[in-house]
Amino acid sequence: MEVSWVELLKLLIGTVVCWINFVLVDTYFGLPKKPGVLGAEVIGKTLEKLGGNINGGYFMGNIVCSPDASAGTLMASIFYYLIGFKGGLVATLLIFIGNRLCNDPGYAGTFGALSATVIIHLLSGFIEPKYFIGGMVVAIFTIQGLYHVGASKVLGYIGKKLGMI
């Protein structure tokens, strides 16, 4: 199979857009400030013991323990790929119910899903929604799968720079 450079460029743009969207929405609604549930506190303290930042550890623990803006971005892109603009609105309702099942007020997930739907609809002339699904998986891989200590330091730096800690 041949790889065209246009597809790689579209995938890179999708990755950057998804990363900026979910990190900014999650930081604005106060995920790095305090652990919402007891599991997030354990993950944050363990990452601090390994040499990372505790606020970035709270951020990563909150992503694991409840569907936040990262899950909202993934679900919005999946439903936009399958149904259309109405699918993004359905995804917002499903993410709200899922947030309430996991003991979370649910502000970050719904706003993340709605903003992702609007951004994908604005960019849908150039980039198909399929590339946003792949971009979201690559974006979550750079945070949760590559190198945990470095990722927690970067997230703590962003949270301190925005003044949300």
């Binding site: 007891l38 599991g39 679900m75 999946i78 439903f79 399958l82 699918g87 899922g98 792949g134 891989f141």
Partner: protein, 84 residues
Amino acid sequence: MDIVMLLIGVISFVVGFRIFLTKNKVQRLLYICCLNFAIAALIALYIKSPMGGVVAAAYFVGSTLSSNAIAHTLGKIQKLEGKE
């Protein structure tokens, strides 16, 4: 098979090997979160129908709930061992 599915497949293979090889429980939970994202995306790309979206959403919420329960039990056990 296009570039997006190939990239997601490579990511899920890498994360699977890292789940098997690490020894820390907390880092295993973080890798499992990444694997759930990859499998939900693969399900939606494999079945190109609105029912596939419902399956992906149900799988994602269920696995997140289960991961939440495991992390909470880990915290309970650490608190109970640290008290004595």
